[in-house]
């Protein structure tokens, strides 16, 4: 069979494409090992020849607690986003509520509000509620980055669920909630994973909310940790890049695992028509 040689060829192409895509990431890693005096060498060194671990030393000394906070916030955001958006997507896609179109429309508009204006609004609200510098507060704020997206994505995906399946469930005496839980949700697994991924990524890399709402608190996410190396007149670039590398490692592992999970679900033939 020619199958093997053909997949081999595809794997190579895939590797090349990925390498191209990740070149900037490599460059960041390169800088994280570079000594101060070599940072702007011309022409630049493609490998950190006179590498230094200075950046990493600073990061490992100071940044690990921030990673934990970011992880908690990321997972919290994922849960909240899916819990809010999945039922909404189902209703908009399948139950045809009156005013549903208007609602999707509002979500679209909501996404256009500049992050910094959102953050100013949250600041005023949280100050009244005493939620400033709290982890749950930041989770709710970060979820606003993902919820409108999630609702629209769930709507788009769930409208693809065949109507006959829902009718069959209804015939069996299942109400909307049961239909949702045992038919629609399992069939929308891809959407759930997609939404979760982005909800996680957005909250992981959020800076505006973190800085306005959590700045100076006991629990700061990793994006604020980076600012330890950005002073008034001076930036320690190897430490900044090292923080980014250290910060993306655990998240990268999560990503790869999540992708495995999707792939496994698909090949197991999860739900087919």
């Amino acid at each position: 069979m020619t199958g093997i040689s053909r997949t081999w060829w595809k794997t190579t192409t895939g590797l090349v494409l990925t390498a191209l895509m990740l070149f900037p990431v490599y460059w960041m890693i390169n800088v994280s090992f570079t000594r101060d005096q070599d940072m702007r060498k011309s022409p630049p060194a493609l490998f950190p020849v006179h590498g230094t671990l200075e950046g990493y030393r600073a990061v490992l000394d100071q940044q690990l607690p921030y990673l934990g906070t970011s992880l908690v916030i990321g997972l919290g955001t994922v849960l909240l986003t899916v819990a809010l958006a999945a039922p909404a997507g189902y209703a908009l896609a399948k139950l045809r509520p009156r005013g549903g179109g208007l609602l999707s429309f509002l979500f679209l508009v909501a996404q256009m509000i500049p992050g910094i204006i959102m953050a100013m609004g949250f600041y005023a609200i949280y100050l009244q509620l005493g939620l400033l510098q709290s982890v749950p507060g930041l989770i709710v704020a970060d979820s606003t980055l993902a919820v409108p997206f999630a609702v629209l994505i769930f709507t788009a995906f769930m409208s693809g669920v065949p109507g006959e399946l829902l009718q069959a469930a209804q015939m069996d005496g299942a109400g909307p909630l049961r239909t949702f839980r045992s038919v629609v949700l399992p069939m929308s697994r891809n959407a759930v994973v997609t939404v979760s991924l982005f909800a996680f990524l957005w909250s992981w890399s959020d800076f505006v909310f973190a800085s306005t709402l959590a700045g100076g608190g006991a629990h700061e996410p990793i994006t604020l940790g980076i600012y330890h190396y950005i002073g008034n007149n001076n930036q320690e670039w190897n430490a900044i890049m090292a923080t980014a590398v250290v910060a993306s490692l655990p998240a990268a592992v999560i990503l790869v695992l999540a992708q495995r999970y999707v792939a496994a679900g698909v090949t197991a033939g999860a739900v087919k028509d």
């Binding site: 509620l129 005493g130 749950p136 608190g217 930036q235």
Partner: protein, 413 residues
């Protein structure tokens, strides 16, 4: 009524409530507002996130709190974020008791009515160098006291100059500096690097040349002003300065100098520690004015201010805190860690006595000028924005220096 549906709705609604209350319930524990921790806690905001909880700076704040008989809660913010944060907090009546901000921001915050004057709070500023204090004054009132100052000068690489056959003593005015750059280029090295980025940093770096030409900020397009911008533009055209300066921050520009290829770099006091690490012999030279002598450089560094509070009874304690922070001993310690020049003569002497390398910097700071001085106040930010735009426009070749400054002047008015 359709019963099953009803129950389902109840269940759905229950989840709503659970979600809604769940999020608020777990967070009601930690109260975080600046004021609700009682009158014995005083809040301090500073732009020094690089100092962790166990740093000397944090300990100094705690110590001053203990002396004043109160607890201090310190929060460090990113500088670029602090102005907005301070305005937002003031709008919500949540200002900190002590606010340490970059000096050109003081006049903006004062204009907003966020800051108290030193008359209100009886803060003594008599020992502070008047040229430094001026950055925190507007309309005849003083809105804080500097914690330290820095300014710009020219660092030079002795090895590069030697190879190019340039005697640094010959660099006295723009003409001799340009001649030196030409020699350096001929020797196969690079001339000078600076930062002309499209932010306040760019204006900060251009000002010594602008002032050194004899120009005034109220008239950007004067013949002198144009000559300053022409100086920079010509350097770029002749390749004495790299094209990347248009996008350089002061850090990037420093990294270029640290590569050892450049003869000169315009940079600040704060790079002293890095200069020691650079691995080549360096010197420091005041920025020359157009026709000789030293140009006035702008002052950098932060001010300690006391924002307006609803409860004016707090000022007395806050004043104690600020006085403690700016006492001679503490200023010495703080300015050493920040690599700043102290704002009072007594501490400056102490600094020079312990580190002779600081001497040219102390002199530079004494000759320096606040950006918002000359009673420009909140007019400065507008002028500055047009100025950095004009610099970028001219350096990138989009317009001639003259046209760029002419449209800047028109827009700044």
């Amino acid at each position: 009524m359709n019963r099953p549906t009803g129950r389902r709705i109840t269940a759905a609604a229950l989840t709503v409530i659970a979600v809604a209350t769940g999020t608020t319930a777990c967070s009601s524990g930690g109260s975080t507002s600046a004021k609700d921790e009682g009158s014995s806690t005083y809040t301090i905001w500073d732009p020094y996130p690089q100092f962790a909880k166990d740093s000397a700076w944090a300990k100094l704040l705690d110590g001053c709190g203990t002396k004043a008989g109160v607890k201090v809660k310190r929060t460090a913010f990113d500088t670029s974020d602090l102005t907005n944060k301070a305005l937002l907090a003031a709008q919500q009546n949540n200002s900190p008791d002590v606010l340490i901000v970059d000096n050109p921001v003081v006049s903006t915050l004062a204009e907003a009515g966020v800051l108290t004057t030193t008359d209100d709070t009886k803060l003594d500023t008599s020992t502070v160098d008047p040229n430094l204090l001026a950055a925190g004054q507007s309309g005849g009132k003083t809105y804080g006291t500097p914690i330290g100052a820095n300014t710009l000068a020219l660092y030079y690489n002795k090895d590069v100059l030697k190879k190019a056959g340039v005697d640094v003593a010959s660099v006295k005015d723009w003409k001799s500096l340009t001649a030196a750059l030409a020699k350096v280029k001929k020797a196969g090295k690079k001339g000078i690097t600076f930062s002309a980025i499209g932010t306040e940093e760019g204006s900060f770096q251009f000002l010594p040349w602008f002032w050194g030409s004899g120009a005034k900020l109220t008239e950007l397009d004067s013949a002198q002003g144009v000559s300053a911008l022409k100086l920079w533009t010509d350097w770029l055209k002749k390749d004495y300065a790299p094209n990347s300066v248009i996008n350089n921050t002061q850090t990037t520009s420093w990294q270029e100098f640290a590569s050892g290829d450049y003869a000169f770099a315009e940079n600040g006091t704060w790079q002293l520690a890095n200069a020691e690490k650079a691995g080549f012999d360096y010197g420091v030279l005041p920025i020359p004015a157009a026709g000789g002598g030293n140009a006035a450089a702008p002052t950098g560094g932060e001010f300690v201010t006391m924002p307006v509070q609803g409860d004016t009874g707090r000022y007395a304690t806050t004043q104690k805190l600020v006085s403690c922070l700016t006492s001679t001993d503490n200023l010495y310690a703080t300015d050493t860690t920040l690599s700043y020049v102290a704002p009072t003569a007594a501490v400056q002497d102490k600094q020079v006595a312990s580190d002779a390398k600081l001497k040219p910097w102390v002199e530079a700071v004494k000759a320096a000028k606040g950006r918002t001085s000359d009673d420009l106040g909140t007019k400065y930010p507008k002028i500055s924005e047009q100025m950095w735009k004009a610099v970028q426009t001219a350096l990138s070749g989009a317009k001639s220096p003259k046209d760029a400054l002419a449209s800047a002047q028109a827009a700044a008015k």
